[in-house]
Symmetry: C2
Subunit: 242 residues, 2 copies
């Protein structure tokens, strides 16, 4: 599999990262969201994807883009309609705020999905035991691969089945896995910390400082953020805070 | 590699999960911590490990245990001294609150660590590029494999190098990776959401309800917890709350 796989990256320049409004000004949130998008696009390129930004308004970036101002679910489903994904023409959908994504993590999304480097028999994607994914030893990539996020969201997705459609909401990854199985698709739940870590809230910024290595981390450091280790989880402080 | 690999599971029955004291009573915290330990031990068994509880006081469980009431770092280092880990006698250290751990996720800790199912060249464990881990195509397991947690902690560890010692604290995974490299050890950063998710605070309980499938999830459901989807991240509510 040497062909590049198309990857959509949904992006909303008009309302970036509202849950960071306690921490960053609107202009800062725009800049930071932009830096994360830069990192995600670079990681996708490094993993052999051909990224395209699916944006609510033109970004002015030197990267292919589709402008669609509808809500996320509708815009992504329209793109799936247009792409008509299949085994030879997969389509990935990767969120723009995965600031910890690396080429290695994203390459796992492409598959094969048989073992994830593991020799264990149990299929972690399928607690209920009703998976259509032959456990463990398949060398074929799954029809639908999903990397769940913290809180159960669908942070990254790779679709090889023509009928699969998305419905983004809170804990959508469970519903997406179920919907894929209902179509008779083989599914894979990709177990990746880096793809599970979407950056939405102040506490998430610590993850970028700890594990990031791109434009988003540089932006935070430049903006005066640093790690703070207290009694509980590591948090961030900003120069001038408190 | 069919031999069982020894795995230490540090556990403190005397002061369980204090950061959940806003949510659970002391007796409940003890029961919940116990349920998580049950899940971690079962997942380790399923992944071919021979688990041993490293506990501050006897647990009364039907599982091998070492009682050591010293702080975590000292107790684990004493166990490393005693075990003298090497390529043929590795020792794993896996936290007792990884309620999302599966046999598949833990088997990845054993290695091989060459690609994690990936064909990408970049080594995500090594943003700075100074890794002693030959990038990507090694089929040997690393001398030290580390699964970082949220907040940068060291949630799971596999040691094959006799001189490696631990120093647990906030963002210890970065220091552990550095210390291993300083010894000339090959290192691997294991990218796993399931091993990254230690259960410390109320918001973490949502992860157990979403992605758990063992005793800890059953305990939470039995205790009346359910998922609540609001505007932001998915959280938990408890029957009788509010």
């Amino acid at each position: 599999m040497t062909d590049r796989v198309d990857a959509l990256v949904p992006f909303s320049p008009d309302r970036p990262k509202t849950r960071l409004s306690d921490t960053l000004s609107p202009a800062e949130r725009r800049d930071f969201a932009d830096a994360m998008l830069t990192d995600v696009l670079a990681a996708l390129e490094g993993a052999g994807f051909a990224p395209r930004v699916l944006t609510t308004e033109p970004t002015g970036r030197d990267v292919p883009e589709t402008v669609d101002d509808r809500p996320l679910t509708e815009a992504v489903n329209a793109a799936l309609d247009a792409h008509d994904p299949g085994p030879e023409s997969p389509l990935a959908v990767v969120m723009a705020d995965l600031a910890l994504a690396t080429p290695r993590a994203l390459a796992r999304l492409r598959g094969p999905h048989g073992g994830d480097g593991s020799t264990a028999a149990a299929d972690s994607s399928d607690p209920a035991g009703d998976s259509s994914d032959p456990a463990g030893d398949s060398s074929d990539p799954a029809d639908v691969a999903i990397a769940p996020g913290r809180g159960g969201g669908t942070n990254a997705l790779l679709v090889r089945h023509p009928e699969f459609r998305v419905d983004y909401h809170g804990a959508s990854s469970l519903d997406h896995l179920r919907a894929a199985r209902d179509l008779g698709a083989t599914v894979h739940e990709l177990d990746s910390r880096r793809l599970a870590t979407d950056i939405d809230e102040r506490e998430d910024l610590a993850e970028v400082l700890i594990s990031g290595d791109g434009a988003a981390r540089d932006w935070l450091v430049e903006a005066g953020f640093r790690l703070e280790t207290g009694d509980g989880r590591v948090t961030v402080e900003r120069n001038g805070d408190g």
